[in-house]
């Protein structure tokens, strides 16, 4: 695995391309991203459909919403997840659904399939594909919620009352389960057992990815070993890519498009997700003006690259040097260390690689407004 990553990187003109991309960092990434996604939303029509509305308006979730109010003032992660649904730019939240819809539209109607009627399409998308996009969102959201379960044995006084943490967990479990259950019944209604199997396997992938993520994020792990770049990519695919890749593929299957379209759609979803994750991992390294407090995960892509480039021993030294009195690493010191070597530029290169791979995957689809939007999204993840 490792050699492939490296050869792939060395194939790319590291010096010149790397520099050029770096010069783009000053342009503010997120707003550009928002624009690309919200433009795309207009192409596919209003993305929120009946299924997620039904979920949001259900007795069960309004019950949760009521209870979540009790968590205000506590440290339970469910609170910030819930806040994210309301206040965060929703472009990130619904990105997966929008991409599934764009992909459906870009592939177009299938005139060969007799049981699919073109007149059922709404802005070029079959109803089943719309439902699939919703299901993708439900699953993604369910795991945002389940990611935020707190281990009660790790509870400390600073987290607030233990009772609140227990209660927050209960709400997080129930609402995540509720979303997942609705995804299951939604999937069943698609009347395609291949799609049910594919998306169920994506749920399994997500679980495994998050499980790895958890064990890598422990402090102990970042000191003792951590993963190499190839493993990082594998795990990131599971936790951040499999759902979108398989949903894109499933959208093709629902329109009975051939294996090759399915393969390309999968490829677009996979590379786009990996590029997107690299992009967001790179953000703290990009916009650091001096003196501003920075923080990043020690399993972020640039750090993983850096660790692999400088070797385990150097990395340990650097970690120790950056150690402050409060047992928290001084992130600006670490950031400088990562920046001084090729860790960051390697991550940028890998990001561009995935962006390009995503672009490449959709070239076989006929030129259209939807395809352009997919291209814009793929380009946007390589800009910072």
């Amino acid at each position: 695995m490792l050699p492939t990553t490296w050869s792939r990187l060395s194939c790319r003109a590291l010096s010149s391309r790397g520099q050029r991309t770096l010069s783009l960092f000053s342009s503010s990434g997120p707003s550009n991203w928002s624009k690309v996604v919200s433009d795309a939303e207009k192409i596919v029509g209003y993305p929120t459909s009946f299924m997620s509305l039904r979920c949001l308006l259900s007795d069960e979730l309004s019950n949760v919403a009521m209870h979540v109010r009790k968590l205000v003032g506590t440290q339970h992660p469910l609170l910030s997840t819930a806040r994210g649904f309301v206040y965060d730019n929703r472009n990130n939240l619904q990105m997966r659904g929008v991409i599934v819809l764009l992909m459906s539209k870009a592939a177009g109607p299938n005139h060969a399939a007799s049981d699919l009627l073109a007149q059922d399409m709404v802005s070029g998308i079959y109803p089943s594909q719309r439902n699939l996009a919703e299901i993708t969102e439900l699953i993604h959201t369910a795991f945002l919620v389940h990611r935020g379960i707190v281990n009660l044995k790790e509870w400390t006084v600073s987290d607030g009352p233990l009772k609140d943490m227990q209660f927050g967990n209960k709400m997080a479990i129930l609402s995540g389960d509720f979303l997942l259950a609705n995804a299951c019944t939604g999937l069943a209604q698609l009347n395609n057992t291949k799609v049910v199997e594919l998306i169920s396997s994506a749920i399994g992938d997500l679980v495994q990815g998050i499980y790895y993520e958890n064990s890598n994020n422990t402090e102990e792990n970042s000191l003792t070993g951590g993963v190499d770049v190839a493993t990082w990519e594998e795990q990131t695919f599971l936790s951040h890519g499999a759902l979108l890749a398989k949903s894109c593929q499933a959208a093709m299957e629902l329109a009975k498009h051939d294996k090759e379209s399915q393969r390309l759609a999968y490829k677009y979803g996979k590379h786009l997700s990996l590029g997107h994750k690299l992009n967001s991992d790179l953000q703290p390294f990009m916009k650091s003006s001096v003196g501003e407090p920075v923080s990043f995960s020690l399993s972020a892509a640039p750090v993983v690259f850096h660790r692999q480039i400088v070797g385990q021993e150097r990395w340990h030294q650097q970690l120790q040097q950056a150690q402050t009195l409060r047992n928290q690493p001084d992130y600006s010191k670490l950031l400088a260390a990562v920046k001084s070597e090729k860790g960051m530029s390697s991550a940028v290169d890998l990001c561009c690689y995935h962006g390009n791979k995503a672009l490449e995957a959709i070239q076989a689809f006929p030129s259209s407004e939807a395809r352009s939007a997919l291209e814009n999204i793929a380009s946007a993840i390589t800009k910072f």
Binding site: E60, N151, D177, L180, C184, N191, E197, Y211
Partner: protein, 421 residues
């Protein structure tokens, strides 16, 4: 001394005046079984004055319960129970080869846990051991047992050899997987630290990993389900997953009104326990037979046995010793849940009402509620209700062509009622 006396009076007055839950329940029950009930020496309210005088009001109060257990009501076959009993006994004594359900189902279940572990394909060792944790062969596997017996009974009913179809075998496995996935989540929600005599997953590995393990088992079940390749079957079993969650949500709230409360309890019981059994039975039926009436028989058997099973479980929470069920007794009360015995006891001891509403959260509530339940007829009444559900299950399954498996399913209802763990 004054206390008990007062309670006696109070109890009498409740029985006499309020057109309450018991009454409504009784009304739909007694329309079909007042005969057998009184022969069972059933409590005073069965022969209480005025009972015959006000049937309309109480049946009106209760259309939803009636609907829920409509099958109990639909067939006013007073004689059904004795008839069945004798028919049951006849098979019992004449068929020398008759085996108990566990033995009969055994041949189809030998590889159950191995098959499940194969479905739980995951490379990370730790996650794998979490997922396999409860598939250690120590569970009762009662759901797969019902499913394979039902499948064989239905296959014979449908003029085939009894042997299981691959899809039916898969459903037996999936039913246990869905059940286990929900157990794993329930244990986190309830903060349980023991299950089947061992530490729970959340106790050993923490809450976050436990939730992920549950999610993983569910995804594996869902994949296996999809591979059966039958859209109707996928829909039927996906409904179960939704029911399980909705049932869990229903446990969060309590209803002020007593009739509402009992309806709520039965509906929750259906969703949390019976839906899985009912729909698994229906799924194996869909795979072998195209007749919706046969699917309905399978479904109704599963539903009625499932509800009876849970009612008995709720009774055992009060009557069983601490170690029997692998969980401490009065566990439900401690979780704030008012189950059948409490709801019935509340009829005789209205003091329970306030405790139910505050979910037994005040100091001493659990002990007091426990005492009230034991002093009341709550346990017997819940058992009686369970009996009624079992009778209906027998009535349903008896519509299938006779087979050893069908008769084992009939016997199973007895075992559900008499189990003490």
């Amino acid at each position: 001394m004054a206390g008990p006396m007062w309670r006696q009076c109070r109890r009498w007055s409740t029985n006499c005046t309020s057109a309450s839950l018991l009454e409504t329940l009784w009304h739909f029950n007694c329309r079909s079984v007042s005969f057998s009930a009184s022969s069972l020496g059933w409590p005073s309210w069965s022969s209480r004055p005025g009972n015959e005088g006000q049937p309309s009001s109480s049946t009106q109060i209760n259309p939803k319960i009636l609907n829920f257990t409509s099958s109990l009501n639909r067939h006013k076959s007073r004689l059904l129970y004795p008839t069945l009993q004798s028919c049951c006994c006849r098979t019992l004594h004449s068929d020398a080869k008759l085996k108990d359900p566990f033995t009969l189902a055994q041949k189809d279940l030998t590889s159950l846990y191995d098959d499940i572990k194969k479905e739980l394909f995951v490379s990370k060792e730790e996650l794998k051991s979490l997922c396999d944790y409860y598939f250690d062969g120590k569970g009762k596997a009662i759901r797969p047992m019902i499913v394979v017996l039902m499948a064989r009974a239905l296959n014979i009913h449908s003029n085939r050899a009894g042997d299981l179809l691959p899809g039916q075998r898969a459903i037996a496995m999936i039913s246990e997987m869905i059940h286990t996935a929900s157990l794993v989540h329930d244990d986190v929600i309830d903060g349980s630290d023991k299950r089947r005599g061992k530490r729970t997953i959340n106790e050993v590995w923490g809450e976050r990993k436990a939730i992920l393990a549950g999610d993983f088992i569910l995804s594996a079940a869902s994949m296996a389900l999809a591979r059966i390749g039958n859209n109707t079957v996928v829909k039927v079993l996906s409904q179960v997953i939704e029911d399980l969650v909705r049932g869990e949500f229903m446990q969060l709230g309590s209803k002020e009104n007593e009739n509402e409360r009992f309806k709520h309890y039965l509906e929750k019981t259906f969703k949390k326990t019976a839906s899985l059994i009912a729909n698994s039975c229906k799924a194996v039926s869909i795979l072998v037979n195209s007749d919706p009436e046969v699917h309905e028989i399978a479904y109704q058997y599963g539903k009625n046995v499932g509800i009876a099973f849970q009612l008995v479980d709720d009774v055992l929470d009060f009557t069983s010793g601490a170690n029997h069920l692998g969980k401490p007794s009065a566990a439900d009360l401690k979780l704030g849940l008012a189950t059948g015995p409490v709801l019935f006891a509340c009829q005789q001891f209205p003091e329970l009402h306030a405790m139910i509403m505050r979910r037994f959260s005040s100091n001493g509530d659990v002990d007091r509620a426990w005492q009230y339940v034991l002093q009341s007829d709550g346990v017997q009444q819940t058992n009686f209700l369970a009996q009624r559900y079992c009778q209906e299950a027998i009535r349903q399954i008896s519509m299938l062509r006779p087979s050893p498996e069908r008769d084992a399913l009939i016997r199973l209802t007895e075992m559900v009622l008499t189990r003490d763990k």
